[in-house]
């Protein structure tokens, strides 16, 4: 735990803008009155860069800086919100007055006496990743990836690669006198290739990243990303049309955990539970998955893309049990929904930026390993599919129906992985798909650090993971009847 972060971030976000703790007190004095249940100020600054290669050359580098403060006033179930991207007192006071306008003014309450600085767990580096390589090294890394991809196969005709990082500082003041800070680095590499053979064209992509710096992208790792992207494109050149209909589906370990994110993750977010719009409402303590399934949302994994030392309301990140041996044990909560439901916040209050109201969001959501040998899982399937890579997914949390789209998948025939099949969308029903999980592998893997989750127009980085697992039946959206 560190208190050094809070001093560093206070200097960087407040002092350098000419703002003091007395100014923060003044802003709160505009907001606080007897009918305010909760209020906070969320200061944020983000430095971001990205470098982009295509057609064998690094075509562009771009740099971005974003700063601002979001002011939130909560009264009962009502949230008032306003933000300013000018960090000056008059703009903060204007935003405060706008945010509190949901309230008829009650009696003024006591001013905050002294700020109580919270400690932040150390879960990732606090160095600025933009500075962890020289510009020339970043350009060289992309050029290297391009050469590796083109050398991997003569069928590779296009290579697009990108390298990006961001350095985010947040400082949160709560009306209860507590204040919290975090420094969050994030780096990401991605490669996309096009392979052509005859008149066939297929794409493949791969990438990864974490909360850390560019040192993560070793030669070995870049080679691995390149190999996977090229393999995916070449495999898809050979792909036969996918089957259509209900059949057993084996999902590979790692990124296919996007299944959990869509099928149950969103439906277990506290706002949907409180508003009773989720298909999982009132299912706490009930069986929602087979007894082989234990699923957590874990913000505390070191350096992971979805991890948060503290969430965007200052709650320390946690490892929350969602489903234990098939029984629904918990939901993901931010402060507002936790308070209204009479439960504890779970460190899942996240927001895209200072311009957005926080909501319950996932961090790293994954299934714990089971006992099955992945090879036995494949062997157990007479006719079905084995899907090892996916694009995005989507869920309707009310009906529970969700989809996710395979980008690399194979037929399983008589217990053996055979021909690659064209990409197909899989569709299922969240509340019952996990009851059909009949085998769980011993090979838990987390994704390489690529997830972006969208909700109500807000994007946040997330992680997913799972062991190889078998769903006894699911609809595969192919074309072969």
């Amino acid at each position: 735990m560190s208190q050094e972060i809070i001093h560093r971030v206070t200097d960087s976000l407040l002092t350098s803008s000419g703002l003091s703790l007395q100014d923060i007190d003044r802003v709160f004095s505009k907001i606080m009155c007897s009918n305010v249940d909760y209020a906070d100020l969320y200061f944020q600054s983000v430095y971001h860069e990205s470098w982009y290669l295509e057609e064998g050359i690094v075509k562009e580098g771009s740099y971005a800086y974003d700063q601002g403060v979001g002011i939130r006033v909560v009264s009962g179930e009502k949230t008032g919100y306003a933000y300013s991207d000018d960090l000056v007192l008059p703009a903060l006071e204007d935003a405060a007055i706008a945010a509190r306008s949901i309230n008829r003014l009650g009696n003024a309450t006591q001013a905050i006496k002294a700020w109580n600085r919270g400690s932040t767990p150390i879960m990732y580096s606090h160095n600025n990743p933009l500075d962890s390589m020289t510009s020339q090294q970043k350009v060289d890394l992309l050029n290297k990836a391009d050469q590796l991809a083109r050398a991997a196969s003569p069928k590779v005709t296009q290579v697009m690669a990108s390298l990006s990082s961001s350095y985010e500082q947040v400082l949160i003041f709560n009306h209860d006198g507590s204040c919290h800070a975090d420094i969050r680095p994030l780096v990401r590499f991605n490669i996309q290739v096009l392979a052509e053979f005859g008149d066939k064209r297929e794409g493949g992509s791969c990438g990864g990243g974490l909360r850390g710096d560019y040192a993560h992208f070793s030669d070995v790792l870049i080679q691995e990303f390149v190999n996977k992207a090229v393999k995916q494109a070449l495999t898809n050149l050979e792909a036969i049309p996918a089957p259509a209909g209900l059949m057993p589906v084996v999902l590979g370990s790692g990124w296919p955990g996007v299944l959990l994110h869509e099928a149950i993750g969103h439906g277990l977010e506290g706002d949907f539970i409180r508003k009773k719009t989720s298909a999982f409402t009132d299912k706490l303590g009930q069986r929602v998955a087979s007894d082989k399934c234990t699923i957590v949302d874990d913000a505390t994994l070191l350096n992971r893309r979805g991890s948060v030392a503290i969430d965007d309301e200052g709650t320390v990140g946690q490892n929350t049990m969602l489903i234990e041996n098939g029984i629904l044990r918990g939901f993901m909560q931010d402060k507002l929904n936790a308070r209204l439901m009479g439960v504890a916040a779970t460190g899942n209050g996240r927001r895209e930026s200072y311009a957005h109201i926080p909501m319950p969001r996932m961090t790293n959501t994954y299934m714990l390993p089971g006992d099955d040998d992945p090879a036995d899982i494949i062997k157990s399937v007479k006719k079905g599919i084995y899907a090892v890579n996916f694009g995005g997914g989507e869920v309707d949390i009310t009906s529970g129906k969700f989809v996710f789209s395979a980008s690399e998948a194979y037929l399983i025939e008589d217990g053996k992985v055979t021909a690659p099949i064209k990409g197909a969308t899989l569709i299922g029903n969240g509340p019952d798909v996990l009851t059909k999980v009949t085998m769980v592998g011993n090979d838990l893997q987390l994704d390489p650090g690529v997830g972006v989750c969208g909700k109500d127009g807000q994007s946040v980085p997330v992680g997913v993971g799972q062991p190889t697992l078998k769903v006894s039946e699911m609809v595969v959206g192919g074309t072969q009847l």
Partner: protein, 444 residues
């Protein structure tokens, strides 16, 4: 209008940045400055759920050093911060490779005298009035089919923006625009089944918004209609895309025609220029100057004149959609499509009322929404989840869910057998319903 949309201040910033970059040694510079403000309210169960005020701004600069390019963005408009952004863009450009196709648009393409389009209809509405409208909408929605309906929130939002584009050729054009919307989301609940549906209205001019009662009634009707949804067996069926699903059906054709996807060879329309890709009764026309059109604009994202043109004429692909950059890659002039299209209107000599299209289906599916991103622009492979209705003997039988539809877009576009007459003006693509002869449906 407040300082937020102080156009003189924003122009001054753009001029200073261009001047500063040129003095630093940039050969060409482009600057985009925008600022906006707005308000949105959300209501849930006749209580305020949230009231949000937004006030954002952004400055972006692209610097060219010969054929090398770098860019930067900041939302801090202090002179120091603007200079830092210029310096960053300059530094990044020094590390970029020489790209023979990069650079500003040719001078004669720039919209120095753009067509005047009225796109600014600010809504002088107070938070109290906005809350009142959203409350009225939700209350009306909850008053119909009472025991089966609950609220998933109703809301209203209003925004206004000023956007300024300038470059070192002396081009500087800015314009105000506005957008307003209202929505109502409902959940229909029966025997443990829950189905959500919503309706929304959006317009540049608040007087063009639908009434709260209409939005409420449509949302209610749609939610009730979803009750009893089920799977159907795996089979081949005709597919009728309606509303938003019809607009997004065309979105892939437009994406595949974008010059960037052509020069990257990542489009199923590669080598299809001047080929027949749709039935000959269908034309797609870009109309950038439609009065109050959501996609209307006198110039594109790099200041090039937009123009009315045929994308598809009698089934034939007439042009790719080019920016200056992708045009130079392919050796053809820009078509004024940097950033995308500006109102695509789908026309057919054989349009029919939607009711007739449904009435003429022996068996088939009506697709109201698709789920997921299972579409490849590279080769046209298409596989998506869907919700909608099963039709038999020209009559809607029941709602469907947890099924997928799959095919290849190249075939799907050739297999269009009907276009609806009713067009939805809420989207950048104005189309009636689209009937496809046959697709693979996966279900039970």
């Amino acid at each position: 209008m407040t300082t937020q949309l102080n156009t003189e201040f924003l122009k001054e910033i753009a001029e200073q940045a261009i001047d500063f970059a040129q003095r630093k040694g940039a050969d060409a510079v482009e600057v985009d400055v925008h600022a906006g403000q707005g308000m949105s309210v959300n209501i849930l169960n006749q209580q305020i759920d949230s009231l949000e005020y937004d006030r954002g701004k952004e400055f972006s600069i692209t610097v060219y050093l010969g054929k090398k390019r770098g860019s930067a963005t900041t939302n801090d408009f202090s002179l120091d911060s603007i200079k830092r952004a210029v310096n960053a863009a300059y530094d990044f450009a020094t590390y970029a490779a020489e790209d023979p196709y990069s650079g500003l648009p040719d001078r004669e393409q720039l919209a120095f005298n753009p067509q005047k389009l009225e796109q600014y209809y600010p809504w002088d509405i107070t938070a109290e009035k906005a809350i009142e409208l959203a409350m009225a909408c939700e209350a009306h929605a909850l008053s119909i089919n009472k025991p089966l309906i609950k609220s998933d929130g109703a809301g209203l939002s209003t925004h206004q923006t000023y956007e300024l584009l300038a470059n070192s050729e002396g081009f500087m054009q800015g314009y105000f625009s506005s957008s307003h919307s209202m929505h109502c989301a409902l959940i229909a609940e029966k025997n443990g089944e829950m189905q959500s549906e919503s309706e929304y209205t959006c317009a540049m001019d608040p007087t063009d918004l639908w009434t709260t009662d209409y939005i409420a009634e449509e949302a209610n009707k749609k939610a009730i209609a979803r009750l009893g949804a089920r799977q159907i067996p795996t089979q081949n069926l005709p597919i009728l895309f309606v509303n938003q699903a019809a607009a997004s059906f065309w979105k892939y054709l437009i994406g595949a025609a974008m010059g960037g996807n052509i020069y990257r060879r990542s489009s199923f329309l590669l080598d299809q220029l001047n080929q027949i890709i749709l039935p000959e009764h269908i034309s797609l026309i870009e109309k950038p100057f439609l009065h109050k059109g959501v996609g209307s604009s006198p110039f594109d994202d790099e200041g090039v004149y937009t123009r009315e043109k045929n994308l598809i004429h009698h089934g034939r692909l007439m042009t790719y959609l080019m920016s200056t950059y992708s045009g130079r890659q392919l050796g053809i002039p820009t078509t004024g499509n940097a950033g995308g299209v500006h109102n695509i209107v789908v026309e057919s000599a054989q349009v029919k009322p939607l009711a007739d299209l449904i009435g003429g289906m022996h068996k088939g599916l009506i697709v109201t929404d698709t789920l997921g991103q299972g579409v490849s622009l590279v080769n046209g492979d298409y596989s998506k989840g869907m919700t909608g209705f099963y039709v038999e003997n020209g009559q809607i039988q029941f709602p469907v869910e947890e099924i997928t539809i799959a095919g290849n877009l190249k075939d799907m576009y050739q297999q269009i057998v009907g276009i609806g007459v009713e067009q939805d003006h809420r989207y950048n693509i104005r189309t009636g319903a689209v009937l496809i002869e046959n697709m693979a449906v996966a279900g039970s």
